[in-house]
């Protein structure tokens, strides 16, 4: 597809957790916990406050349609600030300094005076009902010319455990939010820029690593479509696909718009109470409902059921809007009779609403309030279909190639000052004094240049979580290739085999590498020792155990002789060509306790001897 032709405009919003000692507005550690470890829990209700104009932010208002009770898990590593029971502490100076470094890396300019804001978020993920956030820098640039618009420092939200239950360990971890202009024009470009930005962030050496520590929101629009924000894409590799999927979704909605216009489609403004028609229905949902409302969408027949994403129809969009009112979903005549609703029932609803063959009737069921709210939402969304693509925030459906509606794009209306945090002046001399860390891409090039690593390995080492181990090991005289292979390939293979490598501390890895360099252990022993350390053995003990059970050269010579004798016929047949296969057998026996070079040398001599003798 020619993305320039269809007018693709995309921008990125990258959220990256910072690896500071303390949280942004309290002195708690930035440590994630297992939810089993929570020490107590409490619950709250959240309400949006009315603004001066008597208007609520539209995103906040939609969340308010259902009064929800949120439960929070608290830990011995969280405090009253996370509970919204204490005013925030001063903005974390370490986080601000780090954010300024990041701003400088993106060629941005810091604001002169930082003001912390409250951004209304009443989905329960913030105990206060708002997220504290501050604009730190503006106007940066990326290689290729795309503009970085803003960089904000904000507090991470609480993690949802399930439904309306949230865990407070994550709440308040410092997070930078970096937004680019909508200046990317192909799916690949979006992914490349996201990759580059991630690399720059990791170059600081002070950002969190691992699943969920970096999240990409992608803003996407095509000509005639509208800005849609896809939230929280965690996999870098998925970004280009997510852009492609959204482009095709918007094209699908635009095609529906054209058909609706050709058919002069319209939405009946009045809904009809059809509860009595379903008094004896076989559909359990409808039979139990206190109120069933129906609305006729004139000229929508067949389009509501049309697929616009894999497994998602226009009707799925209506349903997402209706669910905000607490109903489980909707029924529409494009997919009926089904779900226990009979053809007769469909006919009687159609008759009551005077629906024609080209019309689609939508049904919602629930309490009187829920049904009234849900039918309004369906009507609203159906009208939007005539305009094409609504501006929305959407989320990626797990394991699917599609997205679902979350909420309208939030407006500026939901920001007001956090009066409990004083403004901070960014001093010019502080900004000037910030020394930029070497970019990981530059570091990789340097490893090739100075340490002689091949470019693939150099890049892997530089981008690795264990970069620190590599740097220290090389400084202590460990061969760069050994250090690089160990922290990249060896660790990767061990993980693949199910070894919990994340349990291996940097110091342990370093000790193993040093022991190889000192000749105490053979490098072939590293995978086995990593496995031992990862499963709870102290590293010194593992190394000692290995040294005690290792073989002397004489032992290896005896083993070599025995292996050759046992395979005498094969050896005579293959001559010197038997070295390779025999090496495999012998290495298996010494199980990495002797350096491969030594083994190979011993075996070669024994083979020569044997061939000469026979």
């Amino acid at each position: 597809m020619d993305y320039k032709e269809i007018g693709l405009r995309a921008g990125l919003e990258i959220h990256q957790q910072l690896d500071t000692a303390e949280k942004l507005f309290c002195r708690c550690p930035t440590r994630l916990r297992s939810t089993d470890a929570h020490t107590h829990e409490f619950f709250r209700y959240l309400r949006a406050t009315e603004s001066e104009l008597g208007e609520l932010d539209r995103a906040a208002e939609e969340e308010m349609m259902v009064m929800r009770r949120f439960t929070y898990y608290a830990y011995d590593t969280t405090c009253l600030v996370e509970d919204d029971e204490e005013p925030p502490a001063h903005l974390n100076a370490e986080a601000l300094q780090l954010t300024l470094s990041i701003a400088k890396l993106f060629g941005m300019h810091p604001v002169e005076q930082v003001h912390t804001m409250r951004k209304l978020v009443i989905d329960g993920s913030n105990t206060s009902g708002f997220q504290r956030t501050a604009l730190i820098a503006l106007q940066g640039s990326l290689p290729g010319g795309c503009r970085v618009e803003t960089l904000c420092l904000e507090e991470e939200a609480a993690q949802r455990v399930h439904d309306a239950v949230f865990s407070l360990d994550r709440l308040g971890i410092p997070l930078v939010e970096i937004s680019t202009a909508p200046c990317l024009h192909t799916p690949e470009e979006v992914q490349e820029v996201a990759e580059y930005m991630g690399m720059v962030l990791r170059s600081t050496g002070k950002v969190k690593r691992g699943i969920g520590t970096i999240r990409q929101d992608i803003n996407i629009s095509i000509r005639g479509g509208a800005r849609v924000e896809i939230k929280g894409v965690q996999e870098l590799e998925a970004i280009a696909d997510v852009v492609r999927w959204e482009v095709s979704r918007q094209q699908g909605l635009l095609a529906i718009r054209e058909e609706l216009r050709e058919r002069n489609a319209r939405v009946e403004q009045e809904s009809t109470d059809v509860t009595r028609l379903f008094a004896h229905t076989a559909s359990a949902i409808l039979r139990k409902a206190k109120r069933i409302l129906a609305v006729n969408l004139v000229g929508y027949g067949g389009l509501v059921g049309r697929e616009i994403q894999p497994d998602r129809r226009l009707g799925s969009e209506f349903s997402d809007y209706a669910k905000k009112c607490g109903v489980g979903g909707i029924f529409h005549t494009d997919e009926l009779p089904a779900y226990g609703i009979t053809a007769d029932e469909v006919r009687s609803v159609r008759e009551l609403l005077e629906a024609g063959p080209d019309d689609c009737v939508v049904l919602v069921a629930g309490s009187p309030e829920q049904a009234a709210c849900a039918i309004r939402q369906v009507t609203r969304r159906a009208e939007m279909a005539q305009k094409g693509v609504p501006e929305e925030t959407r989320r990626l459906l797990e394991g699917k190639k599609s997205t679902a509606y979350m909420r309208p794009l939030p407006g500026a209306a939901r920001m007001y000052p956090e009066t409990d945090v004083l403004p901070i002046t960014i001093e010019e001399q502080n900004w000037v004094a910030i020394e930029l860390p070497e970019l990981l891409s530059e570091r990789a090039a340097r490893y090739t240049r100075e340490l002689g690593l091949d470019s693939v390995l150099a890049r892997q080492a530089a981008y690795s979580d264990r970069l620190g181990v590599f740097e220290q090991a090389v400084a202590l005289g460990v061969k760069p290739t050994l250090a690089a292979r160990t922290i990249t390939g060896t660790m990767r293979e061990a993980r693949r085999e199910g070894v919990p490598v994340e349990q291996v501390e940097d110091a342990s890895l370093l000790a193993l590498l040093q022991s190889v360099e000192a000749g105490t252990i053979a490098k072939e022993a590293i995978p086995e020792l990593i496995r031992l350390v990862a499963t709870g053995h102290p590293v010194e003990e593992a190394i000692r155990g290995y040294a005690a059970s290792s073989f002397s050269v004489t032992d290896v010579e005896a083993m070599a002789d025995r292996i050759i004798r046992n395979r005498a016929e094969f050896v005579r047949e293959r001559g010197k060509g038997a070295l390779g296969p025999l090496m495999g057998v012998l290495m298996e026996e010494v199980r990495g306790r002797v350096d491969g070079k030594v083994v190979s040398e011993v075996l070669r001599k024994a083979l020569d001897r044997f061939l000469k003798e026979s």
Binding site: E52, E85, V114
Partner: protein, 413 residues
């Protein structure tokens, strides 16, 4: 360059070669605070300003008239300055407090289902600036509302000194209906504020069978129930938590469940009375509370010269250093009534156990029983406002008048 900009003015300014638009909010430490289109504020050098203009005034707020349900009992809401309701102007980010009945009902619609309301604003003070003079105005206002026949009175108050004011009202008004104090610990502009739940629970208490002055605030950190505390036995025991208010020495009078607003009252709660309320509005303002701290020189007592009453928060059972005794003797000799309470807060004063205590009794110090020091100082001012005779004053200070003294020290409290 001095700027004369009106908050709300649209401005254009430069920032490192780029031009930005926003709304002027205020001036802060020499910089213009500007709200950008994306909602963020930032501080900008005044020199960066390119142009400004005042936008046409925004349309007047959409006023929805609030219909009160005439079939419901009538309550009075009297505000003193605590913000139970507020509104955010997202254009400039300003948060304004709401006082009129309509505004409060608009902010907390659930109130309309419990009662109908008449509102009065006595003051708009930060509660640390509260004065006995305003207690008097408040007492008159409450008394007036009770005489007008309201079912109950709700007083909104800043939480810092709410306990003192509630205690003062308990003494100044012999009430027949509930006089309920309520506030919020977490600001009313935040979606998580305790204001709505506290307000609803207080309204529920105001139409209940309760018949005394009380404080109604969160009972726990969760939004599960409010506790009803006796005005003379309640104390703010935490700087910021929602459940900062605690009953000391007695269990709470009762509670209100949330959100169903089921109310329960304990057997010790005083219930509604027939007959007329009475007002005792005099209060001696020259009273104070002095906390004894080891090593404090006795000269500190000199600063209390001229006080008609002095409450001491002594150590343990009610002690001060022996060196204080002669000075206190002089003070008492000069006509000051001195009452001993304990900085332990929990438990009863007994100055008969140790020598220092016996010395204090011998110079005329009055044992304040198990009264909270803050309640004792409010009570002393009120007693001295109505009674001059030293023996009568002593008797009144040691008699339970409004539930401030427990005759028995109960287990587990």
């Amino acid at each position: 360059m001095t700027l004369v900009l009106t908050p709300g003015a649209r401005v254009r300014f430069t920032f490192h070669g780029g031009e930005f638009e926003g709304t002027y909010v205020t001036e802060r430490e020499g910089r213009m605070v500007i709200k950008l289109e994306n909602g963020y504020n930032l501080g900008v050098e005044p020199a960066a300003l390119l142009s400004s203009h005042l936008p046409p005034p925004s349309p007047p707020p959409r006023i929805t008239t609030i219909e009160q349900d005439s079939s419901l009992p009538e309550c009075a809401i009297i505000s003193t300055g605590g913000t139970i309701a507020s509104r955010v102007d997202y254009r400039t980010g300003a948060v304004t407090s709401q006082f009129s009945a309509e505004d409060i009902l608009r902010a907390i619609p659930g109130l309309g289902g419990i009662a109908r309301y008449r509102t009065r604003q006595i003051s708009s003070l930060l509660s640390e600036n509260m004065q006995p003079g305003i207690w008097r105005d408040l007492a008159h206002a409450i008394y007036h509302e009770i005489c007008e026949g309201v079912r109950g009175v709700i007083v909104t108050h800043g939480t810092d000194t709410m306990g003192y004011t509630a205690s003062a009202m308990a003494f100044m008004i012999e009430t027949t209906v509930p006089v309920v104090f309520v506030g919020s610990q977490r600001s009313a502009d935040r979606p998580s504020s305790d204001n709505v739940m506290n307000a609803l629970c207080s309204a529920r208490a105001a139409v209940s069978e309760l018949g005394e002055a009380a404080v109604v605030m969160h009972g726990t950190t969760s939004d599960d129930h409010c506790a009803i505390h006796r005005a003379t036995r309640v104390r703010k025991m935490h700087t910021s938590r929602r459940d900062a208010f605690q009953s000391i020495g007695i269990p709470p009078l009762g509670g209100v469940e949330y959100p169903d607003l089921t109310l329960t009252l304990g057997p010790h709660a005083r219930t509604r009375q027939e007959g007329e309320a009475r007002l005792f509005d005099r209060i001696e303002e020259r009273c104070g509370l002095l906390t004894f701290v080891p090593g404090t020189p006795p000269e500190v007592i000199d600063s209390c010269e001229g006080y008609q009453g002095l409450v001491i928060a002594g150590s343990g059972l009610g002690h001060v250093a022996s060196a204080w005794v002669p000075r206190l003797k002089e003070l008492i000799g000069a006509g000051t009534t001195v009452v001993m309470t304990s900085q332990c807060l929990h438990g009863r004063v007994c100055d008969r156990v140790y020598d220092t205590g016996r010395d204090l009794l011998s110079i005329g110090v009055i044992e304040g029983e198990d009264m909270l020091p803050e309640t004792a100082v409010v009570k002393l001012g009120w007693v001295l406002g109505h009674e001059q005779d030293p023996e009568r004053v002593r008797t009144l200070m040691q008699t339970d008048l409004r539930g401030e003294i427990c005759r028995r020290s109960l287990h587990g409290l």
